[in-house]
Amino acid sequence: MNAPDQAPREAVIRMYAAREDIYPREIKGRYASLRWACVWLTQLLFYGLPWIQMHGRQAVLFDLASRKFYLFGLVLWPQDFIYLAALLIICAYGLFLVTAVAGRVWCGFACPQTVYTEIFLWIERRFEGARSARIRLDRQPWTLGKIARKGGKHAAWGLVALWTGFTFVGYFTPVRELSFDIASFGLGPWETFWVLFYGFATYGNAGWMREQVCKYMCPYARFQSAMFDKDTLIVTYDAARGEPRSARQGAPGSGDCIDCSMCVQVCPTGIDIRKGLQYECIGCAACVDACNGVMDKVNRPRGLIRYATENALAAGLSLAQVRRRLLRPRVLIYSAVLAILGAAMASSLALRNPLKLDVIRDRGSMGREVDDGMIENVYRLQVMNTLEQPQRLRITVEGIASAQVVDGDLIDIDAATTRAVPVRVRIPGGEGKPGSNRIAFTLASDQSAALRVTEEAAFIIPK
């Protein structure tokens, strides 16, 4: 009754799609080993760093409550916030450089999302088995065995996640006290909240969200293409060599791809690399490992899927030619900016003055006349000692020849504190000009010539 030309011309499609489950197959190979090395390196660093002690305190501690950041021998104060900005800029440029050269290697090997997903996948395999077993388990109805496997997996995930949350909070509140507090159930409400929050974030992101974070939440996936060019190394499928693919190996006219779909099965974001460069590709090279294994088995040369550049594929460049194209303007500029920023930050940190001084002239009184016709001004010296040792500092005044500090020119200041010190400066009558005179306060340590800071101020002589 319905002729083809009378079929509905329109359809209603759902705009919100449920996530399709991805079961990445475990893979061994050069890049998988590299990724595991990165996992070990980053996690040893992350879990271990808070436990290192130095100068009788935690070596790395971001003490938000007292607004001091301890980084081994360095103590940063809110005034040093510029270094955080510089560090972020350097990180951003580092990412630009790496991306321009080798695409999303950060994503594939060092990004926390990838690293924790790798750990969580490893746990998943211990409880639920390999890819096919996991698919089968998810399809079968609930049994005691399935409950045990799934329950065990989530319990293990939960433990790792809680440990991660605890470690993270340990960077902001001393980790040793934190562990005592947990052991004695005496954890404060905010610490409890943040441990649970970061634990939950780890569990949710690495256990459930996985590639969804990379595809829909991560901004880097959206703008990394701006740093790509045709000489950027990317994970690519050599279509010229592989196509037309054929399941029957060696069929006449067929390429090297035997359409085994291993590259699709191992992909953590569930894409088919043979369709070309896609924004979902995190450059983890799991498909490279998989395809190389298959090529070995079918006695074909490796590298049907490999790290290559678009230009290399199009023109069939050799490795040496690809390397030579590395030194293109974009890469050179990124490197130069990175080197300049790095050097500027390092030298600025090295030359950082550990003493800081603010001079506030008392506004209540102008210069006043005291005994013997001397003129006196009162200042409040705001002294900051960012070092971890107490200091004894001497105040001197320059600018007017016989200006001198009255009643003691020594200040004692405790380790890592600020302190306001009222100081009177006196000059004999007749010196200087009536009105405002420039003077400069200098705070200096007798022990170390490097500990020295000078700040200008005004000395007012009444008319």
């Binding site: 919100y16 799609a17 200040i411 302190r419 009177r424």
Partner: protein, 315 residues
Amino acid sequence: MADFFNEFWHWYVAVITVLSILGCGILLWSQSSYRVKLRADGTPEQTTGHVWDEDLTELNTPMPRWWIVLFWLTIVFGFGYLALYPGLGSYAGRLGWHSTGEYQAELKQARLDFGPVFAKYAGQDLKVVAADPQAHAIGERLFLNYCAQCHGSDARGSKGFPNLQDRDWLHGGEPAAIKQTILHGRVGNMPPMGAALGTDKDIESVAHYVRSLSGLTADPIKVSFGKPKFAACAACHGAEGKGNPALGAPNLADKTWLYGGSAETVMETIRKGRTNTMPAFGEFLGEEKVHVLAAYVWSLSNAPAQQPIVTAQAK
């Protein structure tokens, strides 16, 4: 004052807020499905139909469902928040939260935190408190915050504001008297004496006599004329001009001058009088803080030799 001048604005804000949130929900719901053209083979079109730069087309890719669920949760959260906290016009919210209440709670917490520190000193004698290094550091900070504006960071005052480092006290320099001064304030009042003394000449003579009391240079003839006239001043400053702490009348026989000791300044003081006020801090700081502060102020003029510049630091 009410949040709004009349009931209308409360409803205006509340209705707009609720309708906006509902509007977001309607938008989400209405966009959950999409009508697309069918291709020749009967399957739905995969692109939105827009083409740029000759061959760029936009894929009709669905959003992940969890993302949309988050939007719905946000709407639920929004209504929950508006029910609990103020946000809907002048509706106060079920929890009765108020910024003033939060401030009061923080204040209460601060009193709990710092109360014991001050309570420790409250029972001690002021001279004992003055000798305590921690109390000294606290006192120094209190002084820099509340007293230095008038008396100077070094407590040496300036014209019209007494020097607290010397041993000259208008109302008495005993620790208890200083505490009394800080708690309740003082009003110093020197009435204008010009009319009572007579002519400008008479005033000048009295000024010279007053200067002579503290050994400053003065014209002996004017001094001799001024001396009998000083009887009018003696009621407060005493026959010898040594002042009276009970009245706050300054000692005129020392070299300390609140407004200056030049003949012109003394004449102006006599002619026009002086009124000076030390505000009361008892209400504002509370008795326990004033206790520590008074000990610090007393120690300024009764300090052991090594103080005050080099002092211990409070942790």
